[in-house]
Each structure stands twice: as structure tokens, then as C-alpha cells.
Amino acid sequence: MWATYLYKASLWLAPALVASFVAFGFGFVFFESLPFLRSVDWSGTLSVKWFPSDESYGLIALMSGTVFVVVCALVISLPIAFGAAIELAFFVHGPLRSACLGAVGWFAGVPAVVVGLFGLVYVVPALGNWFGQGFGLAAASIVLLMILVPPTVLQLTETLQAETEGPLLAARSLGLSQARAVWKVVLPAKTFALAQSAMLAASRGVAETLAILMVAGNVVNLPVSFFESFRTINATIALEMPYALDVHRSSLFFLGLLTFVLVWLLRWMSGAFKKRPGLS
């Protein structure tokens, strides 16, 4: 019956639509950045001077802003997120587990803008009191920690429990304690899941714009200290796009292209952890 075929076709159409959105997105950003790519003086991009009104498009400060903040945020949030996920997946049971997962799920639902506002109103003044200036890498990393940890914990807890009951049961029945079974048997088999989780968190960190913008200070600087204003790629796009003309606007699209490249790099890096089929 033709209605069945229509139904089946729609099942095929949906992924095709999604793929075309991604292709369209990339194509659009690429085409909008062409004017900049054609006219830019590439030697000028290897500097920290981002002054579009004076034709100076130095990318180093912006790129290092994004990279540094993601790295610092991951350094503090991955241990917390991984630890929490492993605990919740294997060591905590019953009502306590449900309560913890519920609380984490609730935090995951807080919009990033609200976290950014919290950072601006509480974290920045507190850091300012203790360390001189509040705006900077430290505040941005703390804000990113609050944004990245909850979804990572939720996703990783799910992933860690997939397909591990068998090996775990086998290890326990051989006399290993839960701790040993988890650390020596289950986790080594799950390195790809951990890497993928880290990659997702990093991508989220690269994409986060507004929350970092509120606490970073946004001065175009190489971020050498934790308490000095810096600026990320996304913050530049958000701050300057409404008022940018022609080549400046095109350069902002090029910055968007850079974030695409950064995320692809992250996916490629996490792919290195993939194992051949079968447990080692």
C-alpha cells in the first residue's frame, strides 16, 4: 500500500534532512567568509592585534582564548564528571543513586545564561576580592565547569552501564571486589566511551558563548594569567556581529569556520581511542 511506502520514505528522509542542514550550515558559513579569505593578508593573522576597524585581523589571541578556556575547564571538570559518573554507575545504588541523578539532571536543565549571570554577580566579585581582578580564565573555567559537568555525568553514567553487566558479573564471581572489577576490568574496555564523553564536553565548551562572555572580560589579550581579561572566538562573533560591515562581517564568519575545524579536530582525536571489536 502506498501509504506504507510514504511512511518508510519519511524514515529515510529524516536523517537526509539532518545531514543537509549540517551541509547547508557549513556551506553558508564558508560562502559568507569567502570575501575575507580572498582579501586577507595572511601574515597579519599571526598576531594578537584584533582591530578590524584598522584592518588588523590577528587570530592568535582569539584562538588561544577559546583553546585555553576549554582546556582549563576540562582539567577541572573532567575529573569531577568522570568520578561522579563512575560512582553513580557502579558504586552507588538505590534511593541515593536516584536522588543524585535527579539533582544532576535538575542542574543540567539550568540554562547556560543563568549560570553566566550567576558567575557575573557572585563568582567574579568573590575572585576579585581574593585575587585582585575577578574577570578572566579562572571565572570562565568555573562557569564552564558548572555548565559542562551535569550533562557529562548524565550521559557518561548511561554509557558506562551499557554492556558492562556481563564482564562485571564475571569479574565479581571470580572473587574481585567491586572496586577492582570496575577499575581493572570494566573501565579499560570503556576508554572510547570516556574519550567520547570528554570530546562532547569539549565541543560544548567550544560552543558556549554567552556565559563565558559575561565573565571573561572580553579584552583582546593573550590569556597569560588566570585573572586577566581575555576573549574567545565566540564572544568576538557575538559582540561584533551586530555592527560589522562587509569584510569585518566576513571575518567573523571565518571565525565560525575556525570553530567548525576545532570541533572536527576534537572528534578526530577521540576517534584514536576506538578499539577493534572485542574486549581486550
Binding site: 500500500m1 501509504a3 506504507t4 510514504l6 511512511y7 582591530f51 578590524p52 576597524s53 584598522d54 549571570l117 557575573l120 554577580v121 567574579v124 566579585p125 576579585g128 576580592n129 585582585g132 581582578q133 575577578g134 574577570f135 562572555l213 559575561m214 572580560g217 572580553n218 579584552v219 581579561s229 576573549r231 557575538a238 559582540l239 561584533e240 551586530p242 555592527y243 560589522a244 560591515l245
Partner: protein
């Protein structure tokens, strides 16, 4: 095969039922989307500066109360967008909070309210009055501690605005600074961001529009954000009008072609005595 009731109420199980459901849903969506367009409503679109948008929105609401067949849409996007849209014919009037550049000819501007550049500082600061030279030196980072200006031993954090913002252009023009000369401690995007940043940073000083400063210093307690006088003059309506406070600008509407009747009537309302009373009520400074 022929349509039976079972195809409808067991919709998801039969392929014909699924198809019917899809058709019905699509038609409902189309119907809903068409439901609220009334053919006899006049639409007016105003885009541009985020400084002027709240005022225009309130004026629009007041106007719509008396003229229910007119629908006025106010959207932000910045002064440059207001001008660009006007030239491309994408809006009826644009809103701007900066003066027109030389390249922006063929555009006529109509003043709607007065405004200016105001300086705000963190509430705990004891310094109340600064000279223009001191402000320029603060932003050039020649002066980096409040004790050099008669205040406490506290580092100065100058707060500036992102490239392209009207307030920054105004600041550079009045204080004769270039972008590369300004050494800000923090750069913010819009007005609200600026106020929040100054309120949470000890020893900070920043610039916003006079309207925002008036609202920030009256709504919040004095201890959070305070207004800074420049050479004895405060950014108030009285000082702006008398010229004692020189950093003024007009908030304007721009038009690129003759206005339609509905649009012209709205603009006339904005400029009338009644409209200017609304201006004052919302917290802006009337002409």
C-alpha cells in the same frame, strides 16, 4: 480501499490512518498559521538601536490603544542595522542612537528624545567628580589607581564597549581617543551588561547612555552603582539641556523614503506633546 472509521481511530496502526493523521495535522498547522492575519490591519516595522527600542515599544503600545487597526513591530539589531534596513526597504523607519556617517547619505533623521553619554562607577567609590582629562587618562591606562585621583588605594578597572557600539563611537569622539589607545580592563556588549559589570567590580568605571544611567541609579540602591559627575556637571535632563553637561546626543528615527500614512501618523504622535510625555514617563529625556 475505502475509508472506514477504524482507519481513523486506530490511526497509528494502519498505514492509511497514519497518512490521514499526517494530512489532518498539516492542515491544522496551516490553519493556525493563517488564523491571526487580519486583512485590514496596517503593519509598521521599526528596527535599529537597542537604546531606543524600549521607548519606541512603549510609544507603540500607547498608539495602538487608540488606533487598534495598526500593528507596530519594534525590533533591535543596532543603529547600523536600522540604517541598512531603511535603505534596503526592509523597515518603515529605523532607530539610531549615533550620528550618521558620511557614507550614510540619502537618509533623513528625526529626533525623538535626548540622550547622552554618562559615566557610572562602582557604588563603593568615594570619588564623585572627574575632569575630562582624568577620564581620558584612565582609559589610556596612564592612571591606574584611584589614589592618584584623590580616592582610596584601589586599582581602576575601566569598562569599555565592544567595537562598533554607538556609545563607544560617542566616547571616542568626545574624548578624542582612538580604538587602539583605549586600554580597557573589561569590554562589555550592551547597556545592561555594562551596568551589571560595573556593579560587581570594585574600583570600576564605565560609560553607558544617560537614560540607562538614570534608570540604574534610581532603581538600584545608591551603594551599587553611582553616577559620576564630569567637571561638576551631572548627566541629568537639566544639565543636558543647559549645555553644562556637553556629552549629548539625540535619539533619532531615520527614514529613506516618504512615509506611508500610518507610519507618518505614528511618528507625529511620537513628536507630539502627548508622545513626549510618554518619553518622560518611560525614563527618557524629552526633546
Amino acid at each position: 480501499m475505502s475509508l472506514r472509521w477504524k482507519h481513523i481511530y486506530c490511526g497509528f496502526e494502519s498505514s492509511l490512518g497514519r497518512f490521514t493523521l499526517g494530512v489532518v495535522m498539516s492542515l491544522t498547522l496551516v490553519g493556525i498559521s493563517k488564523a491571526d492575519t487580519k486583512k485590514d490591519r496596517q503593519k509598521v516595522l521599526i528596527t535599529g538601536s537597542s537604546t531606543l527600542a524600549p521607548l519606541m515599544t512603549t510609544l507603540a503600545t500607547e498608539y495602538e490603544k487608540k488606533h487598534p487597526n495598526v500593528q507596530i513591530d519594534v525590533q533591535t539589531g543596532g543603529s547600523s542595522k536600522g540604517i541598512a534596513d531603511c535603505r534596503k526597504g526592509l523597515n518603515d523607519v529605523g532607530m539610531i542612537s549615533r550620528s550618521l556617517k558620511a557614507s550614510e547619505s540619502a537618509v533623513e533623521s528625526i529626533s525623538v528624545a535626548s540622550d547622552g553619554l554618562a559615566f557610572i562607577a562602582h557604588g563603593g567609590l568615594t570619588v564623585n567628580d572627574l575632569t575630562p582629562e582624568q577620564i581620558a587618562d584612565i582609559y589610556r591606562a596612564k592612571v591606574s589607581n584611584w589614589k592618584e585621583l584623590g580616592g582610596p588605594d584601589l586599582a581602576i578597572t575601566p569598562v569599555s564597549k565592544a567595537e562598533g557600539r554607538a556609545a563607544l563611537e560617542l566616547f571616542k569622539k568626545y574624548f578624542k581617543l582612538k580604538s587602539s589607545e583605549i586600554k580597557a580592563g573589561v569590554i562589555v556588549g550592551d547597556e545592561a551588561h555594562g551596568v551589571k559589570t560595573v556593579a560587581s567590580t570594585k574600583g570600576s568605571i564605565g560609560f553607558v547612555s544617560v537614560t540607562t544611567a538614570m534608570q540604574a541609579t534610581s532603581v538600584q540602591k545608591q551603594s551599587v552603582v553611582k553616577s559620576v559627575k564630569v567637571a561638576g556637571a551631572s548627566p541629568t535632563a537639566a544639565d543636558l539641556r543647559s549645555g553644562a553637561y556637553p556629552y549629548s546626543r539625540k535619539l533619532q528615527l531615520v527614514k529613506c523614503r516618504d512615509l506611508r500614512k500610518a507610519v507618518k501618523e505614528f511618528v507625529d504622535f511620537a513628536l507630539s506633546a502627548e508622545g513626549q510625555k510618554v518619553v518622560e514617563r518611560v525614563g527618557y529625556i524629552p526633546l
